[in-house]
Symmetry: C2
Subunit: 300 residues, 2 copies
Amino acid sequence: MFNNLLIIGCGLIGSSILRGSISKKISKNIYVFEKSKKNISFIKKIDTKIKFLKKIDYKISNMDLIVLSTHMSEYNNIIKKLLRYISSKNLITDTGSTKRNIENLIYRNEKLKKIFVPSHPIAGSEVSGPEFGNKNLFKEKWCIILKTNDKSSKNLKKIEKFWKKLGSKIVFMNSNDHDKIFSITSHLPHLIAYNLVKTAIDFQKKNKTNIIKYSAGGLRDFSRTASSNEIMWRDIFFENKDNIVDSINIFIRNLNNFKRLIKNENNINILKILNNSKKVRKQIIDLKQDISKPNFGRDN
Amino acid sequence: MFNNLLIIGCGLIGSSILRGSISKKISKNIYVFEKSKKNISFIKKIDTKIKFLKKIDYKISNMDLIVLSTHMSEYNNIIKKLLRYISSKNLITDTGSTKRNIENLIYRNEKLKKIFVPSHPIAGSEVSGPEFGNKNLFKEKWCIILKTNDKSSKNLKKIEKFWKKLGSKIVFMNSNDHDKIFSITSHLPHLIAYNLVKTAIDFQKKNKTNIIKYSAGGLRDFSRTASSNEIMWRDIFFENKDNIVDSINIFIRNLNNFKRLIKNENNINILKILNNSKKVRKQIIDLKQDISKPNFGRDN
């Protein structure tokens, strides 16, 4: 598919793209640009044919596809450097979790506008680093590709084909819809998980009791989500601020309403909310976003 | 251990006690009182020696241990009927998720006060019904036993031994501590999961977009918790109202604070919260309340 593929930032996502690209023979040569020495020594073990770029230099102009999979807070710096070497012959995509900010970044430059097709694979874990990467990470998972009028259909198709080769199911979306939807289905759940754990920490401090040991009744599952990479999530919270603040407000409104229903022991309305939840769960399973196998704690 | 054991209410928890009791030979005879015909026909298949009580009658007086594992909203009715037949020779325990309410119920009657030792095994799942029961459900799980001065140590010891035989690790607690602790580690997480799913439903209705299909980024895991039995959870929310309202208030305070930190892009304080979460996760794993195996979605 390509002669030269460059992956910038090779953590969980980057190294999964790397592994998938090797396995699917997506490119003749695969280059990696990665800052962490620890990560580099790990990546070297994946395949001896992987080439490493020591810096962003003239070699960039030969890259058919550049995949940005660093933390989003590093994009600005990297793109500045890339701009010195890229031309309309290159193609760039990324894997960032928010998209309006990336689009704004691209729109500042006429060259970038045409060759940067932002994307967002909906895959990951609470762990990070290349040691957890997996060639099948994107298999059967959604990948959102941003569609705007200023991209050539040729470039859009190349990015679509790239993610399809890695196993993804493709959806085209605009950045506003993307950032709104994921503020609810992903950013809010993570933010809530972090704050639920914080609430438990606050309680422990105030009451001087160890409550963490009784976490099997629910807290445990949230703590997994709340152990996700802190830099990645800080970036998401800052970059999608407006939508996330809206989501928090709607959620708090729902919580206050639920509190009133409990106080008044409003049987009918409480049962309605709990039953509606169950229906959504069924949809999620029907849509193959989860399996129906019951969970009794992950040790059973 | 016993001649006659009676399990009243034989769903996920009751049938797990049933299976464990058979496997560990806890009682010569095991009786079940269960209202649902569907459940009874299922339970019959577990073991042909299981005896069924058709109603609460004089046979109750021969039961060495009676385990109440119905929904808590049924306790009042059942206890009224039991009181006609029980004496100081019987022993009662239960499996309800809140304990102050049960204690209040017991304290109304001098007979009950001495022979009812409330307990709460911290085990379960989002699924319910005897078909999901498991003889190892309580293995290595905490079981909270309420300790009060008016119980004879003989009765406390019997209940302790009973749960230990089923594999539980025992903790003695008073009802106030119990209800406070679990309002944070269990009731709040469930309530939040229900309301997060409701927030997603509200968003779908308002924006007429299917967002459920993008639930893999976080919502999916909450939807599992939010598919738990609605009668059980309504009962918990109503019975532990005061503690839960307090927990919601602390949680909303944390959310509002987090919202401010995002708005101001307060890097240091956000990272502090996210990093502290990670430490709690480590504690939960060290305490063997979860395994460290990363989660990439339950299909991987």
